[in-house]
């Protein structure tokens, strides 16, 4: 198990992965996907205040680097599962934003026809196999996707995202043991944002680094700076390669922070984290800002190019909102479809 210093700025020079033309493209893609997640979620905040969201949303703002880093280490045919805080994961995995946004508004054009909503996005076309509102509950499912890939002789891997709180669920333990003894191609990514709702990780989680728990399964455990998209990418890349080689699972812990309340709109009366702590992270450890600064420092992607990415992304998000807003509500009969595969379902 190795733990990196969360506060370090490890990249004095351009990291090898981002060198060359392909590397620069990857860097731009990292920025683009982080911005997509960020702007998509900022748009949901507006929609919330406009009263257009049917329910509260759990935002990943602040956590984009870990999400994008891990997803970009996978290919299109690889799998992924998420949790209640997973608007960003399918986006980072490559899903189009229109149908995701429509899903958040409960529209007929939603990726789940309006039946899933914010906590249950899935886009099977990019390997996003779903998200669990029940904390931890998708960890076995991700493990099973790995089993299928292995049994079918495919080269796919599955990236399984969950939070620090979820690492205390029994299924975390059962699944990691299974993946370890069967050498399954699964990369477990714990986004440790320091809290499970109001409860600090240190008060109800027995180890400071969740990555330590890898020892219990005889698998690699790596803690990375979750605000550093390149660090997240590198750790995931190593884990994905290892999994693809048939060498089994890895547990990655990304130390990160959520900038907003547990759910947007939720009011917790008793303060459970310092305003100063929140400010320190949002002001100094914003993963998008940090990455943009580095891209500039490295002379890798200049202001104009970055501005272009921003503008393109803003346009995409605006289009997604427009698409969602103008989409019709689902036909009420939709509620009674998709419970079972029926004869009518095309095979």
């Amino acid at each position: 198990m190795s733990v990196v210093d969360n506060q370090a700025a490890p990249w004095a020079t351009v990291p090898p992965e981002l060198q060359g033309e392909h590397g620069r493209e990857l860097a731009i893609e990292m920025l683009r996907r982080m911005l997509r997640v960020r702007m998509f979620e900022e748009a949901t905040i507006e929609l919330f205040h406009a009263g257009e969201l049917p329910a509260m949303v759990h935002l990943s703002i602040g956590q984009e680097a870990a999400i994008v880093g891990a997803c970009l280490a996978t290919g299109d045919s690889d799998y992924m599962t998420g949790n209640h805080r997973s608007h960003g994961h399918p986006i980072a995995k490559g899903a189009g934003m229109d149908r995701l946004m429509a899903e958040l508004l409960g529209k007929a054009t939603g990726i789940c026809h309006g039946k899933g909503g914010s906590m249950h996005l899935a886009d099977f076309s990019v390997g996003s196999l779903g998200e669990s509102g029940i904390v931890g509950s998708a960890i076995p499912v991700a493990t099973g996707a790995g089993l299928a890939a292995r049994t079918l002789g495919e080269q796919r891997v599955c990236v399984c995202f969950f939070g620090d709180g979820a690492a205390n669920e029994g299924v975390f333990h059962e699944s990691l043991n299974l993946a370890a003894v069967w050498n399954l191609p699964v990369v477990y990514v714990c986004e440790n944002n320091g809290y499970a709702v109001s409860v600090p990780a240190e008060s109800l989680t027995s180890v400071p680094d969740i990555a330590t728990r890898a020892v219990a399964y005889g698998i690699p455990g790596v803690a990375v700076d979750g605000q550093d998209v390149v660090a997240g990418y590198q750790a995931a890349r190593t884990a994905v390669d290892r999994a693809r080689r048939g060498d089994g699972p890895t547990l990655i812990e990304a130390k990160t922070y959520r900038f907003h309340e547990h759910a947007y709109g939720l009011r917790v009366k008793t303060a459970y984290r310092d305003a100063a702590e929140v400010a320190a992270w949002s002001d100094e450890r914003d993963p998008v800002v940090l990455f943009e600064r580095r891209l500039a420092d490295w002379d890798l992607v200049d202001d104009a190019a970055r501005r272009q990415v921003r503008e393109e992304t803003a346009a995409e998000v605006a289009a997604a909102v427009e698409f969602a807003r103008t989409s019709p509500a689902p036909d009420p009969a939709e509620a009674y479809r998709d419970l079972y595969v029926t004869e009518e379902d095309a095979r």
């Binding site: 409960g106 709702v197 109001s198």
Partner: protein, 339 residues
């Protein structure tokens, strides 16, 4: 199971506390009354759910505990603590989170006393909200009490107003058996969070006793949780048409107050059951089955169930509402029962 009580729902008089206030009062009073009562739940100390303000200061960290995301261990641990002298209250927050602890509920909570020939006492209360009809989608909106009704050894309360919630919860905390308290979140808002003064400390509603909320002669409507509200609304509407509906609130599902329900149906000869749970093998089905078995001769029409349709809870408001019982569905069911 006592003699039927004919109570008006207190909500009418404005004296009933809101749900959160009822919970707060019940837990506060009982924790003061008995030092072995402890309270555990996720995000309890920060009072995220609003019923535990000031509890940490008042009762201290040993008796007010936040729980990790470990539902199975939390449920079983509370049972073990109960067997060793505490009277824990566990706030599981949302009923959908019970599933992860199902083995502990069944194998440990419900079975220990019986398996060990009465050596164990398991005085523990599990509280959980039925968090449906709020756009939370399928993973937060289950109404799983019928599954637990299928498990012997548990008591189950499901009050329809704050007054009963307080009284039943206090009874549950004093009960030497495990009690599941389901709180229909659709009733939370009915009385404000800042309501009237705490009720008297000795306000207890006995477990196992139903209440007749409205007297009537043509049909009995049994309404569970929020279904009781819909039943009363339907009864009002039907009254205008000259149909006199009696409305019964079971309040406790296990043990069910069969004498009260049977007595009513024997009089009216017709019955509609309004139950927010899923239809198949739900609480409404149990009531219907009991009626056709125990008072067949008195029945003059079909026992009609108004339940949630057998689908999962969809996210979109455009889809969600229709799947639940509603006043209109109750009215239609009564017409069918009377046809």
């Amino acid at each position: 199971m006592t003699t039927p009580q004919r109570e008006r729902p207190r909500a009418e008089g404005g004296r009933a506390p809101g749900f959160l206030q009822a919970i707060r009062q019940a837990q506060y009073e009982e924790m003061h009354r008995d030092p072995t009562v402890i309270l555990m739940g996720q995000d309890l100390r920060a009072n995220v759910f609003g019923a535990a303000e000031g509890f940490l200061d008042e009762f201290g960290p040993e008796r007010i505990r936040d729980l990790p995301l470990s539902e199975a261990a939390s449920v079983g641990m509370a049972a073990g603590a109960a067997m060793a002298g505490l009277r824990p209250i566990v706030d599981l927050t949302v009923a959908s989170f019970m599933f992860g602890a199902m083995d502990q509920f069944i194998s440990q909570v419900a079975k220990s006393r019986y398996m060990y020939g009465g050596q164990a006492r398991v005085p523990v209360v599990y509280r959980q909200a039925l968090y449906y009809h709020g756009g939370t989608a399928a993973h937060h909106a289950d109404r799983p009490y019928p599954m637990f009704m299928n498990v012997p050894g548990l008591k189950i309360i499901l009050p329809s107003n704050g007054y009963d919630l307080k009284g039943l919860l206090k009874s549950a905390i004093r009960d030497d058996n495990p009690v599941l308290c389901f709180e229909d979140a659709n009733l939370w808002g009915r009385r404000g969070r800042g309501g009237p003064e705490p009720e008297a400390e000795d306000h207890l509603v006995p477990i196992g006793s139903a209440a007749v909320r409205r007297s009537g002669t043509d049909v009995t409507i049994v309404g569970i949780g929020h279904g009781l509200v819909q039943s009363l609304e339907a009864a009002t509407e039907l009254e205008a048409e000259g149909i006199s509906a009696e409305v019964v609130d079971p309040r406790t599902l296990v043990p069910m107050d069969w004498p009260t329900i049977l007595e009513s149906v024997r009089r009216t000869g017709r019955c509609v059951v309004v139950d927010p749970a899923n239809r198949t093998c739900g609480a409404a089905g149990e009531i219907a089955a009991q009626l056709v078995e125990e008072c067949f001769d008195a029945l003059r029409g079909p026992v009609v169930r108004v339940t949630t349709d057998d689908v999962h809870v969809p996210f979109s408001p455009a889809l969600e509402r229709q799947i639940y019982p509603s006043k209109d569905k109750v009215v239609a069911a009564v017409r069918r029962a009377l046809a």
